[in-house]
Symmetry: C2
Subunit: 329 residues, 2 copies
Amino acid sequence: MQRPTLDAVAARAGVSKSTVSRVINGVSTVAPRIREAVLDAVGELGYVPNAAARNLVTRRTDAVALVVSDPPKGLVSDDPLFAAVVRTASRALEAAGKQVVLMLAGSDESRERVERYVVAGHVDGVMLVSLHGADPLPYMLARKRVPMVSFGRSSAAVPYVENDNEGGAGLAVRHLLGLGRRRVATITGPMDLIASQERLAGYNGAVREAGCRSMMALGDFTRISGAEAMDQLLQDDPQLDAVFAANDLMAIGALHVLRKHGRRVPDDVAVVGFDDIEAAQYTAPPLTTVRSPMDAQALATVELLLDLFEEGAQESVVMPCDLVIRESA
Amino acid sequence: MQRPTLDAVAARAGVSKSTVSRVINGVSTVAPRIREAVLDAVGELGYVPNAAARNLVTRRTDAVALVVSDPPKGLVSDDPLFAAVVRTASRALEAAGKQVVLMLAGSDESRERVERYVVAGHVDGVMLVSLHGADPLPYMLARKRVPMVSFGRSSAAVPYVENDNEGGAGLAVRHLLGLGRRRVATITGPMDLIASQERLAGYNGAVREAGCRSMMALGDFTRISGAEAMDQLLQDDPQLDAVFAANDLMAIGALHVLRKHGRRVPDDVAVVGFDDIEAAQYTAPPLTTVRSPMDAQALATVELLLDLFEEGAQESVVMPCDLVIRESA
DNA sequence: CTGAAAGCGCTTACAG
DNA sequence: CTGAAAGCGCTTACAG
């Protein structure tokens, strides 16, 4: 699998390696007819520059690591949003001429692998997808002074793009309140996720503002945990008339339990979720939920990284959410 | 961001670069106390070998491109299975010490980028995720003699791992027949996908075997297409008592239409899907479907590639499917 | 505008 | 068991 080298092209075109290199890299100071000759030779030989040799001297790779920081339970990459984020970010990065290296970092071992890979110079920078508050990875990499941004807030050390979780939760709860509901409960996400904390804060703020009391049950963003939490809430207060679940998966679990207990949705109990995952359209009844602009957010994160490459330090970004009203509330 | 080099480590440890290199690469012929000294120096300096320099001389990268060949409509990467395949394959590859470079190849432009990237020597081999019969990528890469395997059959030029689509479809239809159904229709996938063709063949075989007549409507693997196809089938034969949809998304669309038309599932019409996606558990009623062992398949594909690296040419693999019986049939 | 030469940071025969 | 030297395939000042 011997590929042609710069030397071979130079020989064939009857010029020096320097000249071939200039043509390949688009340096303009090359006589048109020589340029032609070089391009012909490149075409005939099917020459493609060797990446390792080039990186070695330029000290750039034009590649970016997309690191998905996966908590032990596999919460993030099991998330229906995972594929969308990866795909959107990949496309944007590729459009900017950056190659994407996907890395999953779930264990200490894999985190170390990521660290070594990045430090070895395989990539020019890192885009982190991390929703885990206690994630050690941002610290590890920040210490190595690697250009890095984060999709989802992760640590103070790294500029991030995040949706307005607190504002979105507020929107959801105020909608419920606006429907005349007064016993509005919430099912929370796992409390080590910053997003969960913020959504809970949004719920609390809106409920207090309306002079209602707060009722909550802990979940962990899985459907089953939503079902269990709903069971508990119903026991705590059989009169409750609304539930805000901190994500759609848990809202779906709650929907099932409500039906099992003979509660009509939304007549008896109104339900709102968060995320607007695909499945939210298919539930019975279709789920009212908070839409976080995933695509826009992924795109903004990519922008942030590119800006970082160009101009150095950048500020974090918070994107607004809106409410998708369907039939469950 | 000046990182320490081999030279720096050698100087600090008071030995030659050659010796440091041997220690780093685990060559055993190094005196224990010298080894110690080198390791100490490495630790103190935080030395990590430069990847480009190393690749340049070894001509290996220990990286593998995971190329997701995305048809224009985004069918593959929108698929709920996408994330699972990417994650499973990534983990297995990383466990084998290979780094994973994710590449999306949807357009001619991106296919060319993939080709250049691979030829430039960034990776040692390619794992293709391609379900598209007419995909030009396998040919492009095979021509360059790049070690390559495919998750999902793509072209004769490349060894693949595939589930037994025909057998799985046969399983589904025979289950319907076994329930006493005699007017069994099918909703097909897009016909340029080999998987669709095979699932249709499985349906046809089973229906003919039972002496029933076949009824089909074309879909394209999207939920909406499943709904439209179901509408049409109901018009064609209001008496039909069973439907085999070539994937779960279309089965879900069919379920909605059946309910809208007042047909009870499974009493009036039994429904079976294919894939066993997450959402199949949440439909009303929960969907009976064909399970293709995604994880096992992704793992087998990784194995195939690793074998290819070790021993050269390998044979394709077909994995059996089984039926997950829930409530819709 | 073009070429000769140095050098990027490693590995690997080859001596000793 | 260890070191000096060559070389991997590029880019980039430096001359001319």
